[in-house]
Amino acid sequence: MAKLDNQVLLERLEQRFAEHVQKTDEPFGLLSVETSKEYIIEVLKYLKTDKELQFIYLTDITAVHYPSQELSIAVVYHVHSLIHNVRIRIKVFLNGDKPEIPTATTVWNGANWMERETYDFFGVIFVGHPDLRRILNVDDMEVFPMRKEYPLEDPNKVDKKEFFFGR
């Protein structure tokens, strides 16, 4: 096999998943691809178990909220092939009203807390997760604070109002 660079990696993914995996970008040399929630676990499993790719290391799982988009929650996976020293970023866009995606704990044990954190902040339901509870925020909290609908107050304006200073 040729040296594993982004081109080769992309070809392999396209060969295996056809149009279910699309390249979106390659910022700063890090291949970024998009797939759907139906295929994400298959893609992750393929990346991990393929003898030549060996993306054995799950670096991170997180999410991003784009309120203006129809599929407003993006779940982002960073996976690393320690053998080839290549990283890949995989994104899955989900419906913001009911964001559901299968859990990656079936592929890596380490996905457990990362998914709990993502659930805690964005409300993404990881279907099949063994223990999907809030992790950093309090259990009885009802909102998902990292979503863009909960902006912080503008520190430059609000606390500079005179009545805050008893004037």
Binding site: D25, P27, F28, T62, V64, W108
Partner: protein, 404 residues
């Protein structure tokens, strides 16, 4: 992972389990986090880890701050080695803005990061000693950590939450006293470290308490996404400094120490060996610095680097740039970037999405402590309580980095 796991019979009618709260403010938890343990006498049957006690919403706050104001947030993650977080953040922004850093600044950064790594490992290994009952080692090396803090103080005025870097380099040059102290440290630390090492690696009690305890194999460690010294203790030589060199680490000659058994003793030894390597790196960096032109301490990027105050008052151009940076009127590229550095505890990653505005659209910290700690409860089950305490020390979980 199962090396020291005891096997017991769940159907034994005489089993009488007790629920024990280890933490949130127990001294052995080294921070504010709780482990609810089911114990059968001295043996842990199962446990649940609870975190979030000092969650400060860094990621949310960061979305509302300009890039340069995020620096103090990063300082407060792993507060034992805050300059590493700090530099990691600035390198992420520099990658985003395509800022090239002069070699001298990169070497200065390497010195600071390695000093921070030593400070971090000193406290971890010192405390590991304390938890096994050996208090003297902790006292011996604490002086050296104080000395490192003096160096930080000389450079930026602060000791713990250093706020030491800027986008493009440093806020000010290292003064002569700082350089003197760094040279002094490189000379005075090795004998102390040697003594510290000998205090433990020939100590019967220490070896009995640590070797074979909480042993984890490489496969399990990788599956739990471990990184840093605890992963290397299992035999995996993954170090971000070598795999994806940043800040000119490729110019340095150093080794990646790895362990064999992945137990507490190996973690201790890997950290110790890393301190030797850090000293080696600092020595090389000092040598390299002498060949670099003096007086350069930041990149020439006036559109991102805040000008010194006296220039703002007396120079029109500096005033304009100051205004533009502070008011966020300088465009940033609309893209995303992931940058990782080797923190004291492992891969410290920054995932930054920019929409072209003055603040990140989304900023996510990959905190090694958060990821390393999730295995604590599952791996503790079957252990003796006293082993679980030492295991926690050897993971070096820093509450600030756990909760963020």
């Amino acid at each position: 992972m199962t090396a020291n796991r005891l096997v017991f019979d769940d159907n034994d009618p005489q089993d009488d389990l007790v629920t024990l709260n280890l933490g949130p403010t127990h001294p052995a938890t080294h921070g504010v986090f709780q482990n609810v343990l089911q114990v059968d006498g001295e043996r842990i049957v199962s446990g649940i880890s609870t975190i979030g006690y000092i969650h400060r919403a860094f990621e949310k706050i960061a979305e509302h701050r300009p890039f340069y104001q995020i620096t103090p947030l990063t300082d407060r993650m792993n507060y034992c080695s805050s300059p590493i977080n700090n530099m990691g953040w600035h390198m992420t922004v520099e990658k985003l803005l395509d800022v090239e850093i002069p070699k001298r600044v990169q070497y200065m950064r390497v010195i600071i990061m390695e000093l921070a790594r030593i400070a971090d490992h000193i406290i971890c290994n010192g405390i590991l000693g304390v938890d096994t009952g050996a208090f003297s080692g902790f006292l011996y090396v604490m002086q050296e950590r104080e000395f490192i803090y003096e160096i930080f103080e000389e450079i930026c005025g602060a000791r713990l939450t250093t706020n030491i870097g800027r986008i493009g380099g440093f806020e000010r040059d290292f003064n002569e006293t700082a350089f003197q102290k760094i040279r002094q440290f490189v000379k005075r630390y090795p004998p102390v470290l040697k003594e510290f090492e000998e205090l433990f690696n020939r100590n019967r009690i220490f070896i009995d308490r640590t070797s074979g305890v909480a042993a984890v194999d490489a496969e399990t460690a990788l599956s739990y996404s471990w990184s840093g010294p605890i992963l290397r203790a299992t035999g995996v030589d993954y170090d971000v400094r070598a795999n994806e060199p940043y800040s000119s680490y490729e110019d340095f000659d150093f080794e990646i120490p790895v362990g064999e058994n992945g137990d507490v003793y190996d973690r201790f030894m890997v950290r110790n060996e890393e301190m030797w390597q850090s000293i080696r790196i600092i020595e090389q960096a000092l040598e390299k610095l002498e060949k670099e032109p003096q007086g350069i301490f930041h990149a020439d990027v006036p559109e991102f680097y805040l000008p010194p105050k006296d220039q703002v008052y007396n120079n029109m151009e500096a005033l304009i740039y100051h205004f533009k940076i502070v008011m966020g009127e300088i465009d940033t590229p609309k893209t995303e970037v992931y940058h990782a550095v080797e923190g004291g505890n492992g891969e410290l990653g920054f995932y930054l999405i920019s929409d072209g505005g003055r603040s990140p659209y989304r900023l996510h910290f990959r905190r090694p402590s958060f990821i390393n700690y999730q295995m604590y409860a599952p791996m503790s089950s079957g252990m003796l309580l006293s082993d679980a305490i030492i295991n926690m020390s050897s993971l070096n979980v820093i509450a600030g980095e756990l909760d963020a």
